[in-house]
């Protein structure tokens, strides 16, 4: 159903129902005569604008200054071991600009240059090797787009609705187009010995953030990346080299990669035992919960993107993704999950990448309990929060992919709520 516009007939039927509201709005706009922005010559239509080179590397126009990463300070004790959130409520399409893509550091973002960069591969290999950045640039490259989602995205919501805004409830995610070397190529250069079943990847930064990855995944689609969205990685995203682990939790996407060790077993590092394990109601914990399950969220309207225009035509939009492949469909409910309407998947649908959905909708001005529900190509349907809690309780911290509810009120304001 990708790119099929919503049935025109259905759209017109809805329009007729809400026609009264539409007319009123249009009349209000016409009431005061000629629009001076049209009738009078504006300065910008007469004088010069900014010259080329005014900003050799441009930033967004200042009118978009509110579209920035934001932190929730009480979540962490120190900003160098912390996280912030992508302003997904204000973005469209699927690619996240690096400058506003969420950051997660465990000991701060480090400034490392290409000349001083070294990558070591050691352990159960025929040839322990050291590469410079110049070496890496000579290996075959490929391009892939992938979402990177922190396992704790939505983790504050296990106990109930807590934060107001898609940025805060779902913003530990970004989606970029990476260019890099398939990790398989580097591992084959070193020659993995038959006893080597795991890789262990760590960063140059003080935290090292080491994570173990089974060799099968390492040889499948993992990328050693140095470009994102067509330009060098930004410092906060691991300049000059980071790991891209499609579909798997963001903590494994080691930044400033310094070493890849090949071992017979998982290292069971701090990041994969004391953190990033999911405590279950029986007091035991799931470990190695790597895959990010299918999930979606309406990004607009949402608490930070209220409906400002009153009843009538509107666009409901959001994002869907799955660590198990492509998104097959997204359904939207305006009544808290009683009835659902298929949304349109816009643009290319790529595996393990953000997918944009749109639903062209005529709002009658009444309250909505707005939800999105993703289904991926394996047939997995995004569960409700209640269904997840029934299995996992409320202390598992990570991997909350439950359906989000936004309460849209008659004035267009939106709240994050739980329903039953």
């Amino acid at each position: 159903m990708a790119d099929e516009p919503t049935s025109r007939r259905a759209f017109l039927r809805q329009t007729a129902a809400a026609g009264a509201g539409l007319v009123a709005t249009a009349a209000a706009l016409r009431a005061e005569g000629a629009d001076p922005l049209i009738a009078q010559v504006q300065d910008y239509a007469s004088a010069f604008g900014a010259p080329v080179d005014a900003t050799p590397y441009g930033l967004p126009i200042r009118h978009e200054a509110h579209v920035v990463r934001r932190n929730v300070e009480w979540l962490t004790e120190s900003p160098v071991s912390s996280i912030n959130f992508t302003p997904i409520h204000a973005l469209e399409g699927t690619i996240t600009p690096q400058g506003c893509a969420f950051e997660r550091h465990h000991s701060g973002a480090i400034e490392l240059n290409k000349q001083d960069y070294r990558l070591m591969i050691n352990g159960l290999v025929d040839r322990p090797l050291v590469f410079t950045f110049a070496d890496l640039m000579r290996f075959p490259r490929r391009v892939l787009t992938s979402f990177c989602e922190c396992a704790a995205n939505g983790g504050m919501e296990w106990n109930g609705a807590q934060l107001e805004g898609a940025q805060f409830t779902h913003g530990m995610i970004h989606n970029m187009e990476y260019t890099g070397i398939p990790l398989r190529v580097l591992l084959e250069e070193a020659g993995v010995q038959p006893a080597g079943k795991w890789i262990y990847v760590e960063g140059h930064d003080a935290s090292s953030n080491g994570r173990s990855i089974p060799l099968d995944k390492a040889m499948d689609d993992v990328l050693v990346a140095f470009f994102a969205n067509g330009e060098a990685l930004r410092m906060e995203h691991g300049y000059p080299v980071r790991l891209v682990v499609p579909g798997w939790e963001g903590n494994m996407w080691v930044k400033w990669v310094r070493r890849i060790g090949i071992y017979a077993n998982a290292v069971e590092s701090r990041e994969e035992t004391s953190k990033y394990t999911d405590l279950m109601p029986d007091g035991r914990a799931r470990k190695w919960t790597w895959t990010m399950d299918a999930k979606s969220v309406v990004t607009s309207p949402s608490p930070q993107a209220p409906i400002q225009h009153g009843p009538g035509p509107m666009v409901i939009t959001g994002l869907a993704w799955s660590g198990n492949g492509k998104i097959a469909r997204v359904d939207v409910s305006t009544d808290g999950g009683v009835t659902w309407t298929p949304a349109r998947l816009s643009g290319d649908v790529k595996p393990k990448a953000l997918t944009r959905f749109h639903l062209d909708y005529i709002w009658d001005g009444s309250e909505m309990l707005l939800q999105a529900r993703a289904t991926d190509e394996t047939g997995y349907v995004q569960p409700t929060k209640a269904a997840l809690r029934a299995i996992r309780g409320v202390n598992s911290v990570y991997h909350n992919n439950g359906i989000q509810t936004w309460w849209v009120k008659v004035d267009g304001e939106v709240e994050n709520v739980e329903i039953a």
Partner: protein, 358 residues
């Protein structure tokens, strides 16, 4: 026979030649030297792989912990503020508020050693020696009630230590435990028996950052009512009008900028600038010219309080000495920081700190 065999051989050769270039080595990079591998491969695994020879006892561990770890984790590993709690929590994993500590949660002792040795202390990673790491690990076992105070941990007895929650983990089973139940035909109509109602509102918790107007931070501005935005500064205005006289001697802005970078090493614990509050360390606004241990509301070590009572004032000279060697300059103070070895880093940091009025 020779003909068909040759043909077979030829086909095999062709297959090899036509194999994708990726399967061949490119010969890039160079051999990693054993001493380089030793310098970087510090990882330790549950079966003891990677463990280095050494030992440390509980009492030594307590001392090292007090010096390097307690400013965040507390003297008894109980965790200060929201810093990780390392001891206690025994039997709490089914509680509404589980306390996940080294004793109650961590399955492997190797993880403690590996993490302390490689990544701690926070802001001073890789400054703990192998023996100190054994000692800290021994102390953490002691603080969790798992060994007596005369315990000595070494590479010899490391694998004998059993962690209480070693059996508390199982491999992700979502594929069998969850996926079948969630892999269903999506319901489209009459999916709930009754219309749902709101049971919880995030708005009532008031924990979301807000904009000055009280709305959630980052709320999109109106598209019809233009916000009052200052016009873009014109080129001419960018030239500074006669600025107010600099307070005291003007400080080299480049040095200040360099100092701002150096301050990142301090920022985990110390705050400066507008609204700066005490954190793990005291806030540092107006530190230059201030008597030592005089920031209101901060609980100083006896050592630093003593220095302040003795009349010590933070000026360029005392700060330089302190920053060069915090423990040497004021023994037994509680700042867990190794110090700044480069004089230019200290000068830059002091210049930076001089910019913040009390």
């Amino acid at each position: 026979m020779s003909k068909s065999r040759n043909l077979a051989l030829g086909t095999a050769l062709l297959a090899v030649t036509a194999a994708p270039v990726l399967a061949e080595r490119l010969g890039l990079g160079r051999a990693a030297l054993p001493e380089e591998v030793s310098a970087w491969d510090l990882s330790v695994q549950p079966d003891g792989t990677g463990l280095r020879a050494g030992s440390g006892d509980v009492l030594t561990g307590e001392e090292v912990f007090a010096e390097k770890c307690a400013s965040c984790h507390g003297e008894f590993a109980e965790g200060l503020d929201s810093w990780p709690v390392l001891a206690g929590g025994d039997g709490s994993l089914r509680d509404p508020r589980p306390v996940k500590t080294v004793g109650s949660y961590w399955p492997y002792l190797s993880t403690v050693f590996d993490y302390v040795h490689r990544s701690m202390p926070f802001g001073g990673a890789q400054t703990v020696t192998v023996d100190e790491t054994y000692a800290i690990t021994a102390f953490l076992l002691y603080s969790n009630g798992l060994v007596e105070d005369d315990f000595v941990l070494s590479n010899e007895n490391f694998l004998e230590v059993q962690m209480p929650n070693a059996g508390g983990f199982y491999v992700d089973d979502r594929v069998t435990a969850e996926y079948p139940g969630f892999t269903v035909e999506p319901c489209m109509t009459a999916c709930l028996p009754a219309a749902p109602h709101v049971t919880k509102r995030a708005a009532e918790l008031k924990v979301t950052p807000t904009d000055p107007d009280g709305k959630p931070a980052g709320t999109l501005p109106s598209l019809t009512m233009a916000a009052v935005i200052e016009p873009a500064p014109a080129e001419a205005e960018a030239t500074p009008v006669e600025a107010e006289p600099e307070p005291a001697a003007a400080v080299d802005p480049e040095l200040v900028a360099a100092g701002e970078k150096v301050f990142k090493k301090c920022a985990a614990c110390h705050k400066v600038g507008e609204g700066a509050k005490n954190a793990v360390g005291p806030m540092l606004n107006g530190v230059l010219g201030k008597p030592a241990a005089s920031v209101e509301g901060f609980k100083y070590s006896a050592a630093l309080t003593g220095a302040g009572a003795g009349g010590m004032v933070w000026d360029a000279a005392t700060l330089d000495g302190y920053l060069a060697d915090p423990k040497g300059f004021i023994p037994k103070n509680k700042m867990a920081f190794a110090g700044l070895k480069k004089p230019e880093d200290r000068a830059a940091l002091i210049a930076y700190l001089s910019q913040f009025a009390p």
